[in-house]
Amino acid sequence: MADFLQLLVAGLATGAIYALAAIGFTLLWQTSQTINFAQGEFVMLPAFLALIAMNLGAPFPLAALIAILGAMVILGLTFKLAIVDPLIKSGPLPLVISTIGVGLLLKDGVKEFYSAEAQPFPKVFPETPFSLGGANFTYAQIAVLGVALAVIMALNWFLAGTRTGRQMQASAQNPTVARILGINVNRMIFYTFLINAILAAVASLLIAPSQFAKFSQGEQLGLAAFVAAIVGGFNQVRGAIVGGLVVGVADNFAPTLLSAAGLSSAYRQALPLFLLVLIILFRPQGLVGRKEERAI
């Protein structure tokens, strides 16, 4: 039982980070039909922006802020203007291929201009363990979970509780009707890209202390976010949250389950894909998904 709790909390902490990336992924899809195959690299990059700022002498809080703002400029504004806007008219395929290219560019850019080695990242939250009911947790795990959930709640509040947020929802649900009401749909899409960049930056800063920052990290992160989005139904923010948590928890339970089944722990890498296949076979609309509907 104690082991179970331990794995569960560790899984939720990782899962909450995946959820951030998956929410961003879902938002881009909802508002602009952009399937961002560079999402993993979007989560990889901001930690390096923070490292660069710290190398230049910035204290961590400032470096984190620079990472978030840098992400908004590079992964939000530039990505939207330079890649998505010119290509979106040509249908989804050219855009998908371009996002794969963007992912490669970011990955090899970091490798070439920063380092190919995994970079230690400051431990923002203390890794000191504490035990509760026989299970061991770290303060860092709890803090990561707390920060990720707080960001998710803030986003939900923004989308549901502000007029701009509701205009974004309207633009995603039915862009034609949104335009008919005078909503500046393109601006709402732009906000989505900014939000995605912020989510990616937060995820990056949360995951870097425990996994280090590495140029190739995006492969695993991107796959996790993609699978989380699919598991959740692909077209809903709350689906992405559930999906992220499911993938994170499954990932943490995998070694125990695999060894119990007498299988090599190497299969752990394949777990997201396994989940993906299960979902596509048995529940293609996702765990909390619904069928797409669109008027006009």
Binding site: R163, R166, Q167, Q169, A170, Q173, N174, T176, V177, A178, R179, I180, L181, G182, I183, N184, E293, A295, I296
Partner: protein, 246 residues
């Protein structure tokens, strides 16, 4: 007198991609009256509304609103000029509340501080919407959803309202209610341009009628005259009118 016409279309040509749907459409819509556009399926009625409202590029021809050239205005510009559009089908945001749906009708309002007051006034005008203000719009009946769309379209207090087949899928009682609202609007000075499948019923309610076929205006006249025209029955039985009919 040209001033009687709030909206004019002169030889408007437009369509989807390379396909031409509006093939020189011409219309003169009278102020503070209900004009119903009728015509067979696929005649281009909805397309005409989309072109008027700036949702479809116009390849040639000209449109004016109160004498001002509005050809290829954006929807936002049309709203600012005093036109609103309730399209065909289901156009509410199902997951937002009734009140929040209504609020989105006020996005184009220049003075946003006046929005809550306008929403409250609209709620008073449609008590059923006030009753359901906090409910998800998707939980409303089809007729209530249409009322919500109409109310949302009225929030900017438009001079001209384009309404595409509001009665489709509604119960006869609800149709009467919607038509009643349109008449009241007309009596308060709003111009209504309506598309209706049920031509007879709609023309009985209207002041003027416009018959569109293959993207061209065949008849533009008083509703009562069109109702009495034997060719109309023929048209709706699929016979078609000769272009020289006018």
């Amino acid at each position: 007198m040209a001033d009687d016409f709030i909206l004019t279309l002169q030889d408007v040509v437009g369509g989807y991609g390379r396909m031409t749907i509006l093939n020189g459409t011409t219309a003169r819509i009278r102020r503070a009256a209900i004009t119903t556009v009728i015509g067979p399926n696929g005649a281009g009625k909805s397309t005409m509304f989309k072109a008027i409202f700036g949702l479809l590029p116009v390849r040639s021809g000209r449109m004016t609103l109160e004498g001002r050239d509005t050809t290829n205005f954006t929807p936002r510009q049309m709203l600012d000029a005093g036109v609103s559009f309730v399209p065909q089908g289901r156009n509410i945001f199902a997951e937002l509340t009734v009140r929040h749906n209504m609020e989105l009708g006020g996005v184009a309002l220049a003075d946003q501080s006046g929005l809550p007051r306008r929403i409250d006034a609209m709620m008073q005008r449609f008590p059923i919407l006030a009753e359901k203000a906090g409910a998800q719009a998707g939980t409303l009946s089809g007729g209530q959803q249409k009322l919500l769309e109409v109310a949302r379209g009225l929030l900017l207090e438009p001079k001209l309202m384009l309404i595409d087949e509001p009665s489709i899928g509604l119960s006869p009682l609800m149709v009467q209610e919607v038509f009643g609202i349109l008449k009241a609007l007309r009596d308060s000075g709003v111009t209504i341009l309506l598309i209706e499948q049920n031509a007879k019923q709609a023309l009985q309610l209207s002041d003027y009628g416009l018959v569109l076929e293959q993207g061209q205006t065949r008849i533009e006249d008083k509703a009562s005259t069109i109702l009495a025209d034997p060719r109309i029955a023929q048209l709706f039985l699929g016979g078609g009118l000769a272009p020289a009919a006018q």
